[in-house]
Symmetry: C2
Subunit: 324 residues, 2 copies
Amino acid sequence: MKKVAIGIDIGGTKTAFGVVDLDGNVLYKDFIATPKRGDVSLFIDLLVNGIKQMETYLHDNHHDYEILGIGIGAPNANYFRGTIEYAPNLAFKGVIPIKKMLEDKLPEFKTIVLTKDSNAAAIGEMMFGGAQNMKTFAMFTLGTGVGSGLVVNGKIVYGHDGFAGECGHSTLFPNGRKCGCGGLGHLEAYCSASGMKRTAFELLARDNSTTSLLSEKSFNELNSKLIFEAAEKGDPIALEVFELTGNWLGMALADTVNHMSPEAIFLFGGPTAAGDFIFTPTRKSLEAHLLPVFKGKVKLLPSMLKAGDAAIVGASALVYQEFN
Amino acid sequence: MKKVAIGIDIGGTKTAFGVVDLDGNVLYKDFIATPKRGDVSLFIDLLVNGIKQMETYLHDNHHDYEILGIGIGAPNANYFRGTIEYAPNLAFKGVIPIKKMLEDKLPEFKTIVLTKDSNAAAIGEMMFGGAQNMKTFAMFTLGTGVGSGLVVNGKIVYGHDGFAGECGHSTLFPNGRKCGCGGLGHLEAYCSASGMKRTAFELLARDNSTTSLLSEKSFNELNSKLIFEAAEKGDPIALEVFELTGNWLGMALADTVNHMSPEAIFLFGGPTAAGDFIFTPTRKSLEAHLLPVFKGKVKLLPSMLKAGDAAIVGASALVYQEFN
C-alpha cells in the first residue's frame, strides 16, 4: 500500500494542488485560478472538483494507494482554527473557515490540515528538503512579500494565537518604506521581490541614470528576474540592488538568530534564483550583524525543494507531520 | 519531606544564592561579591563555602527537607554545555565550565542546571509569577543591558546552540548607538537603564537644557531611578525619556510578537519600577506596530516576582523545571 497525501497551495493568482508520495515525488498536479472576486463557496466547489478528478486519476493509475489526508498552505492561514483570516492578497475577505468548508464537502478525508504557506514551506523543507535532521531552523520565502516559518525542536512555532512567524513585518527602518500591511519600514518592503524593484527605482532616481538596463522599464514592468538578468550583464544599478537587498536581509536575519538561534536559515522564492548575487551579500551582512556567540554558527542555505513543486510538496508534508 | 532547591544568580557585581521551596518562598539567602579580577576557581571555592553554610542552616532549622538540586542563572550561560562563555560583564574570560566545576566540588548534588539569567527569570515567572498556565510568552529584563527569555509550548527556546533569546541585540536603528557588544543600534543601547541615561543626555544636548532636574547630574551619576524621580516631579526631559524609551521598546517587542506570537510579554528590572511612565508608551507603541492579526491580543505585563528575590527564585525554578 503506497501512502500519499494531497497538497494544496492557495496563492494570490492560482491555487495549485497535487498528490505527493512519502519520498516527496509529485504523482499528479493541477491548478485552478484563485478567484479575484466573488464567493468563496464557488472557489471551494472548483477545488473539490479538482480533487475528485485527482482521485479518479489515482484510482485509474495507481492501484494500491492510501490517501492520508489533505494539507493546505495559504496566506494568513491559522493552523489552530483552520481559517484564512483577513488575507490582504486574496479576494476572500474576513475570516474564511476553509478547513470546515472542505471537511463538509469531502467527508471521506479524516485529516485536513491548514497552515500559513511559509509554514508549509518550512515543513516541506524539514520532511523532503535541506532541513532533514534539523531540529531548529528558519525558512524565509521571498516573493511578492516576505514570509517566514520558524521551527523549534522539530515543531513549527505557532505561538499563542497561531500566527507566529511573521518576520517579514518586523521593522527594518523605523518610519521607512510603506509596507503592504500598512506598517512602515518592514523587511517585506525592502527584501521581497517587489522591495527589490522599489530599491532599483530609488537608485535610478538617485543617480538620474539613463544608461542602466533597468532605465527602460516601467515600474509595472520591472521584476526581480529582470534585475537578476541585468546584474548578470554587469549593470551597476542591478548589482547595487542585490548588494543592498543582501545587506538589509542579513541584518534582519541576525534578529531572527537572536530570537531562536537556528542551525540554518533557508531562503526560498524568485529572488533566490539569482544565487550568489543575493546569497553572498546576505551571508556577509548576517555574519557582520551576529553577536560573537553566534558568529560562524548559522548556515544560510537555498531551499532544496524543487521550485515548481515546492508549494504542493510543502502542503502535503503537513499531512505527514500530523502522523509523526 | 519538604522539597527545596538552591538558586544561584551570578551577576556582574554580586552573586546571590538562596534556598527556595516549591511555593517560591525564600527560606535563606546570602551573597558574595563576584570577583572583578582573578581566578574563577577562587570564586567557586567561595560559592561552595556559601552553599555549605546554607546546608548547615537548613540542617539546623528545617529538619525534614530534600534539596532537589542547584539552579544557576548567569550572563552568557549555555544550558547545553553548562558553561559561561565570553561574558562581557564578568571577569571570567573565555569559556568557563561552571557546572562541571561545581559538580566536582559538590558531588552530593545530582542535579546542577545552568542557564542564562534572563531564561531563569522566564522560568521563574512561569513557575511562581504571572506566567503560570501560560504556554508561550516572552520575558524582557531591563537593567545594565536588555536580556530576554522566550518560552514556546512551555519550554525555554534554547535554539541549536543554546544561546537563543538575545533580543536585546536586535537592531532597532541601523547604524545607531554603539552597543556594549560592539554592534550598532541595538535595542539594548536604547531601552536598557543605561540606554535611558544616554537618551536623557541626548535630549539635554538637543535642548541645551539648564533647568531640567537632570541637568545637575554627571553621566556617571545619572541612572534610571533618578530619571523616574524627575518624571514624577513633571520634569519634561525625564518624561520625554520615558516616552521615547517606550516608543522604541514597543517597536522592538512587535518584532518579537512577529516571531513567536506570545500570549504575554513580561518586563522585569529597574526601569519597570516607573510603572505607567514606562508601560503606557510601550503598550501604545507595541499596539501601533503590531500586524492586524496580533492587535489587541498580546498582554504587556510587569513581572510578578518580588524584585529582591526574583533572581534566586528564578534560578531555583530551573531545578523544578528539570523534574517536570
